[in-house]
Amino acid sequence: MPTALYCVLCDRVEAQDSNLVRLNISGLLARVRPTVSPPFPLTCNDFRVFLLLTDLERFLKLSVRVVEAATGSVVHVTRQVPISSPGDPRQLMPVAFRIHQCRLPAEGLYWVECLNEGTVFVRQRLYAEA
């Protein structure tokens, strides 16, 4: 399994113009709150799951899913992305999944889980609060 040095929920990940491998991660996200009534279901229009990976295997199939902790229900899932890593497995590899229109059905804790070949290797918390 790859190792995630960072698993960050955020608004944006942008490379610096002068150095493409230096990345600015902004709008760190731990909690979302509805701005409309009724508050739920809450639709998160756009956020990113940023991963800085190492201990890479030669072949990976990465995906991201969002799971409602209280029920175990998967509320959002991305496609599996095939990735090859022919170089040094100790390199630090940045990958981001942009999540669109993630619908959170109720208040509470959600797990944003990152998977390789269908197995979770890192997860991060996202709280939805009214």
Binding site: V21, L23, L28, A30, R79, V81, I83, P86, M93, P94
Partner: protein, 134 residues
């Protein structure tokens, strides 16, 4: 939303994927279909081939041209053509011309080309298409 920012330095440029939900509910995948992570010329040219739509076998680092297409690989001195490309190691790409690119045998003419000597890769579509290259 809670908001702040951090800066990190990685070993390769960021790769981003997203699935866009269209108004009718259809999900459209964006971003590269196949990605090579890392640094170095083998990764650079592997991604160039992937962007051209070259297929990748799951178990071995092999690209096979389909429908009569051919790959070309240029160096400063030569241009090579083949319909099977093999990531032979960190140092070189093997380009093989084979009667049937799907064959699992060792037939065909093989050129071994150092990744750091490559200046251009591409596909020559069969039979009259213009080359796509990177």
């Amino acid at each position: 939303m809670d908001s702040t920012s951090i800066t990190v330095t990685a070993d390769s440029p960021l790769v981003e994927f997203f699935d866009e939900v269209l108004p009718d509910g259809t999900v459209v995948s964006r971003g590269p279909e196949v990605v090579f992570l890392g640094k170095g010329t083998q990764v650079r040219w592997g991604n160039a081939l992937a962007r051209l739509g070259v297929c990748l076998d799951r178990d071995r680092m092999i690209w096979r041209a389909h429908n009569g297409d051919w790959f070309f690989v240029s160096t400063a001195a030569d241009e090579y053509r083949g319909n099977v490309a093999v990531l032979a190691g960190d140092q070189s790409l093997q380009l093989i011309g084979r009667a049937d690119p799907e064959a699992a045998d060792d037939s065909g003419t093989t050129h071994s080309i150092r990744w750091d000597a490559i200046t251009r890769v591409g596909i020559v579509s069969a039979p009259t298409g213009s080359p796509g290259c990177a």
